[in-house]
């Protein structure tokens, strides 16, 4: 039973990271129409920044976060200015821009590889040792678990407020709904685009920093996180931020809680864990990307909440 709770905690922690990453990918896709595969490398760069600053230069771990966010935002802006924006202006299709993002990602990754190999930091971890803050029998909750879940939820709320309550947020939503109409109605799309790059770079910086504390990192860390994050985006219906967040948690639970149950009670090997991600992704695509389980789940949750309200 204790192990079951531990699996739930792991699911929430991993799910939070997937959800935050899925948020960044969805925002890019919805507002500026890019399947941004290079997003993985923004995460890796910020992970290396935090790991190097904290372990090699003894910078306080909390001070590493703003530097890592700044790095991810900078790379996000540079990639957009040098690659995505010129391609969009030339009238490239969404697939062409996606291929360009894959190439950009590979380029960045190999630069990270070279840097890491030369400096002997291929495998590195941020200098922070997480500690148990709650212990019930063998069930352990660490300060890092609480920090990851707390920070991701807080950041998602902040991003939600920016999108829903500010003028720039309204402009992003206008571009999201109809890019051409937004442009014709006088919205300075280039300015909004830059703001979107900042908004998607920020979660990348946070995830990278958190990941470098949570786990050892390598030049492929961001890449390894990309598949489940994209799966979450697909589950979320590609352009739904709440859907992507729910998708992230669904993936987290699938890989941890569900696999634990499957192994424990049906003897399913954990070697099949990656199949969870792929199956959820395929299922979402089969059902159709615009009526995906996340929306279905949302409506069930909404109905359940309404039902409870009526019962009272």
């Amino acid at each position: 039973m204790i192990d079951l709770f531990q699996a739930v905690i792991s699911s929430i922690v991993i799910g939070s990271l997937y959800a935050l990453m899925a948020y960044g990918l969805t925002l890019t896709l919805g507002s500026i129409r890019i399947y941004n595969w290079a997003y993985a490398e923004y995460v890796t760069i910020s992970a290396y920044v935090t790991a190097l600053l904290s372990s090699r230069y003894s910078v306080d771990i909390l001070l590493c976060f703003p530097v890592a966010i700044f790095s991810a935002v900078t790379v996000s802006l540079i990639a957009d200015e040098l690659v995505y924006k010129p391609l969009t202006r030339k009238g490239s299709t969404i697939i062409q821009v996606m291929l360009a993002s894959i190439a950009t990602g590979l380029l960045i990754r190999y630069l990270i590889y070279i840097f890491a190999s030369v400096n002997n930091v291929v495998i590195i971890k941020a200098a922070y040792t997480s500690k148990a803050v709650a212990k019930i029998d063998d069930l352990i909750i660490t300060d890092l678990d609480i920090f990851i879940v707390g920070l991701t939820i807080f950041m998602m709320l902040v991003f939600h407020l920016i999108i829903s309550k500010t003028l720039i947020g309204k402009q992003i939503r206008a571009m999201w709904d109809n890019f051409e109409l937004a442009r014709l109605s006088g919205i300075k799309v280039d300015k909004v685009r830059r703001f979107v790059c900042i908004l998607v770079g920020m979660p990348a910086g946070i995830i990278g920093s958190l990941w470098s504390i949570y786990s050892t990192i390598t030049p492929t860390s961001g890449w390894l996180l990309l598949l489940p994050a994209f799966a979450a985006v697909i589950v979320g219906g590609l352009v739904s931020i709440p859907g992507a967040i729910i998708g992230g948690y669904l993936l987290g639970f699938g890989e941890n809680f569900f696999m634990y149950i499957a192994y424990k009670f049906a003897g399913v090997s954990l070697a099949y864990k990656p199949l969870i991600t792929l199956s959820i992704m395929l299922l979402a695509l089969f059902v159709r990307a615009d009526i995906i389980p996340a929306r279905w789940l949302l409506s069930i949750l909404t109905r359940a909440a309404t039902h409870r309200g009526n019962g009272r």
Binding site: I14, N120, D138, I140, L225, Y260, Y263, A271
Partner: protein, 421 residues
């Protein structure tokens, strides 16, 4: 007869006499004066090298490359000093710690006409390039592949290390000898991990032990559920005689150790490992100190294929490597050193780089060659036949973490010795 015609006659006799004289003189000069020695053309052979220079395995690959550069220099100096008209040149390709990278590197080297490859080539990579090197007749020596699945006779892949059928048995005997009759095993679900596990499982059960096992998928971002399951398995096995065996690559193992260190069950049993964790990257300064503390606490003990008595050649190689690169070779450098030397001697003897000739010579010569890693005798599959293993334990001495040798397995006598310290 006029006076003019008799003058011409005399002149003709003189010319003929002169020509005969020149001919006789030249013939005598060949007999009497020895010929100047002909300049023998020095033949240069290019040896392909495949190593993980980038990616998670770069720590190992860079060491293999550096050892390769050092060894080729040493060989060329030796040949030059002894007027042997053979020189080697190294052509290095990065396999990027992936199977696809290794295949692409092999194809690139094959495309350049290279007939001999010496490489890091862990089992997954060796398996990946096998069909290419066999079909293109490229004689290949791996310095680190150990999977029993690749023990195949009459192929073009030779291996400087013994297959894990031996290491699996050594691990089983080691764990059994240290008093553990139950083991929870977590292993990499690839030719390497499955290979070690298969032979460990057979031997440990033969000894009377109980095993619970868990295969994990390589290259996942997170291993929380695997560690949780491992903890659950240890609890199910229960009792003081339970240990954990991990067969993993260092970058995945660190992630697992980092989770396991907070688990009360997993941090109170002894852990064992195969040779893949003894290398750079696990312990500080490269690895996290909290993980190293955990490894000291759980007394991580493992095997490592190395001669029990350090050969003179090994001492010289280590010294040379340290002088050149400012660090000690930890993993596969010495195997690269031996592989390149045997290849060089084969090339010198054969006078050509015909892969079939070199392969036969390599097999025969290796069986009589005692290199830095000891006697390199090969079995019928082209794999090392006799293998000693060092037994190491992670210890912290004077504030420094290290893999301290605490015993060994004698490959000739199948005897396990553990230091009483």
């Amino acid at each position: 007869m006029s006076a003019t015609s008799s003058r011409w006659k005399i002149l003709a006799y003189l010319v003929i006499g002169l020509l005969i004289g020149i001919g006789v003189g030249y013939a005598l000069s060949l007999v009497i004066v020895p010929a100047a020695p002909a300049t023998v053309a020095v033949k240069e052979y290019t040896i392909g090298m495949i190593a993980d220079l980038t990616g998670e395995g770069a720590d190992y690959g860079i060491e293999v490359r550096d050892a390769g550069i050092l060894t080729v220099e040493e060989i060329n100096n030796f040949f030059a000093d002894n007027k042997i008209p053979v020189r080697l040149k190294l052509e290095v390709e990065d396999s990027k710690t992936t199977v696809e990278g290794a295949v692409s590197a092999a194809q690139s080297l094959g495309g350049k006409g290279i007939k001999i490859i010496v490489g890091h080539l862990w089992s997954g990579q060796a398996n990946g390039i096998k069909s290419y090197i066999d079909s293109h007749k490229i004689f290949t020596v791996s310095t680190s592949s150990t999977s029993p699945m690749l023990s195949i006779p009459n192929d073009y892949l030779f291996r400087m290390q013994a297959p894990d059928s031996i290491q699996g048995r050594v691990l089983a005997n080691l764990i059994w000898k240290l008093g553990y009759s139950k083991v929870a095993v977590i292993y990499r679900n690839d030719p390497y991990g499955s290979g070690v596990y298969k032979y460990f499982d057979e031997e440990f059960k033969r000894l009377g032990g109980t095993i619970k096992s868990l295969a994990y998928t390589p290259d996942l971002p997170d291993y929380s559920s695997e560690v949780l399951q491992l903890s659950s398995m240890v609890k199910e096995l229960g009792g003081a005689k339970t240990a954990v065996l991990i067969i993993a690559f260092n970058y995945e193992a660190i992630k697992m150790f980092d989770k396991a260190r907070l688990d009360p069950t997993l941090s109170n049993v002894q852990w064992f490992s195969s040779e893949s964790l003894k290398g750079p990257g696990i312990l500080p300064p490269a690895g996290p100190p909290e993980v190293a503390d955990f490894l000291v606490k759980v007394k991580l003990t493992g095997t490592y294929p190395a001669s029990l008595t350090e050969t003179e050649l090994m001492k010289k190689f280590v010294e040379k490597f340290k002088t050149r690169y400012g660090r000690e070779p930890k993993a596969y450098g010495a195997y690269t050193y031996d592989a390149l030397w045997i290849v060089a001697l084969c090339l010198s003897a054969a006078g050509s780089e015909d892969p079939d000739t070199i392969m036969k010579l390599f097999y025969n010569l290796a069986s009589k060659y005692t290199g830095a890693t000891g006697l390199t005798t090969l079995d019928v599959n082209g794999d090392r036949a006799l293998q000693d293993y060092q037994i190491w334990e992670v210890k912290k001495l004077d504030g420094t973490y290290d893999f301290k040798v605490i015993g060994g397995w004698n490959g000739a006598t199948n005897e396990l010795i553990i230091s009483s310290e």
